[in-house]
Amino acid sequence: MSALTDPKGAIAELTRPEGWVLGVSVAFLLFLLAALLTGALGPTYFLFLVGLAGMYALLSFGLNAQWGFTGLINFSVAAFFGIGAYGSALMTASGSPIAGGYNPLVGLVVALVVALVLALLIGIPTLRLRADYLAIASLGLAEVMRLIVLNERWLTNGSAGVRGIPGFFKGWPVLSTFPETMPGIRLEVIPGSPVILETAFWRASLNVLLVLAFAGAVYFVLRRAHRSPWGRVLRTIRSDEDLARALGKDTYSFKMQSFVLGSLIMALAGVFYTHLNLYVGPGDLDPITTFYAWVAVILGGSGSNRGALFGGIVIVTIREGTRFLNDVALPIDPAPLRLLLIGIVIVAVMRYRPQGILPPQRELIWPSAVDGGGAPETPDSGVRERKGGGGDE
């Protein structure tokens, strides 16, 4: 699936693990297609899953911009996600205890601004200190945010959550009425099992469009940033902050930029979730969201944007795939099974591939400099793959 967002990546340049991921992804897509055509998987639900995968990819992108790029340990992914979700929900929902009823674009801006302010508030005292302090402070922040959402009823409706959230495209020309104007379509590829596409399907396809736009934009930004001198300073900080300082880099400022950027992306994931789910509650701020994002980033390969995307998709597959096991008689419930599976995945990755499935492998130099400059035309691949690459005297 990673190839979809990276059309330039030619197949010939793929390393072995990349080839594997591509192969498995294609097989998985074919499997999903078969499930769709036979009616085993409802098309609307499938699109919901795609949206959810996009959301987890966004969360992973955000954490990757912090941990993967710079080595910042942020345990408050759920808090920034929650700020995005609640920020836009409270601004736009008819059931909002405060303002409400605004255009979703206003909700988007408000959510991002609040996330920005909070990231600065947490970053200012902790980013000058050792990495551990951000970890501790962010852990506290996540819990504080969850408790505020749960208890400040005048602001958030407390445990009842916020209802009456409009779709993101409410008020837009064409797109706001698109699902209603589309005709129902009946497809019968396999005789006897027709697939019917109705309003709900078209509504869901709008969500997919939205998440693709969000994730695509974020991926573009992160990809460019990662290959830039800016990203190189972040990677230097991750390996050795003192070295970066000795070479004249204002590491505090760089860490702050990385932290804010990541937090904004997480909030963006929350904004999307609000308009996907049309309901937000305090449960959405549970620490499990933070945990999922970490698993996705570590699984995909810290520092790798493609890895984060892949990790996000794997998380959704495990999270939602286990629901289908309800039909199969299993000795255990799907919920604990889900956690068990994720645990097994983490152990397996740590044991057999600690760098993650798709770690960043190529030299990260600004593209135009590599193409036009004196460097070799094909950047060296598999930097992390090789062990003891020779040349030592």
Binding site: R224, A225, P229, R235, S239, G248, D392
Partner: protein, 262 residues
């Protein structure tokens, strides 16, 4: 090169009455000396004399309890390390710092100061200028790697080269930062004799091209051959300062190293 007795009116680095204590221990005890432009100044002293502490104070990693540090005539006392570096003082570390997941070429490109591409907004607002500076820096990096005769390492993972090669890369990278004065912390510690010789000739070459050096080194033969003048540190203060021969024959220096007279 220079005679140690010259008046230090063209000092690129001036340390005046610098003090730093850890608990009751005065690691730097009213240290005063200057590094004249164009020299290779050696900083020697027995273990625990406070050489590394002094480096950390000068480069801004420690804040001094008293005294001042001047780089190029600017008082940099109490500044952050990156600000000190911005005034032209670059340092290396005793143990080579490893940049995980970078090739030697990438690790080199961290060197240049204030690159346009280090501004996040500029990556999107003017990608052209980022590309231009990156191309120029890349060309510089490859040229310097060639001068250091380590261009064959450019595509190697920066963590997969030998310790001595890392020292060479570190020195090469520091040159990309265009330092006025370069502080080297034990450049040949743990480096095999062939590479040490290479490092020595590189330092000499760079010095002839105008870079001023201040280096800590335990290898007496290396430092006596390369540096002039030499500053001797003992128990946090400057014991004496002079030419290699002068320092070698100074009884106080011999006492400090052999632990006599204490």
């Amino acid at each position: 090169m220079s005679e140690g007795a010259l008046p230090k009116d063209d000092a690129v680095l001036r340390v005046d009455d610098l003090q730093k204590s850890f608990g009751g221990l005065a690691a730097t005890d009213h240290a005063t000396f200057a590094v004249e432009r164009g020299t290779i100044t050696g900083l020697i002293g027995p273990n625990g004399a406070g050489k590394s502490t002094l480096f950390n104070l000068i480069s801004g990693f420690y804040e001094p309890d008293g005294g001042t540090v001047e780089v190029n005539g600017t008082d940099v006392t109490g500044m952050e390390p990156y600000q000190v570096a911005d005034h032209g003082l670059i340092r290396t570390f005793q143990t080579p710092r490893k940049l995980e997941g970078m090739t030697v070429r990438e690790a080199m490109l961290v060197g240049p100061r204030n690159q346009p591409g280090e501004s996040f907004l500029r990556l999107f607002a003017s990608p052209g200028s980022v590309g231009e500076s990156e191309s120029a820096n890349l060309a510089d990096a490859e040229r310097i790697l060639e001068e250091f005769e380590i261009d064959h390492l450019a595509a190697q993972p920066a963590t997969d080269i030998s310790g001595g090669q890392m020292k060479l890369v570190e020195l090469a990278r520091a040159m990309l930062a265009e330092p006025e004065v370069l502080l080297l912390d034990e450049p040949v510690a743990g480096v095999n004799p062939t590479l040490a010789k290479k490092l020595k000739s590189q330092i000499r070459r760079l010095n002839e091209q105008g870079t001023t050096f201040l280096l800590i080194e335990h290898d007496m033969e290396f430092v006596m051959d390369l540096a002039d003048p030499i500053v001797v540190l003992d128990q946090g203060h400057v014991l004496t300062e002079g030419t290699p021969d002068g320092v070698r024959s100074d009884d106080r220096v011999i006492d400090a190293y052999l632990g006599g007279g204490a």
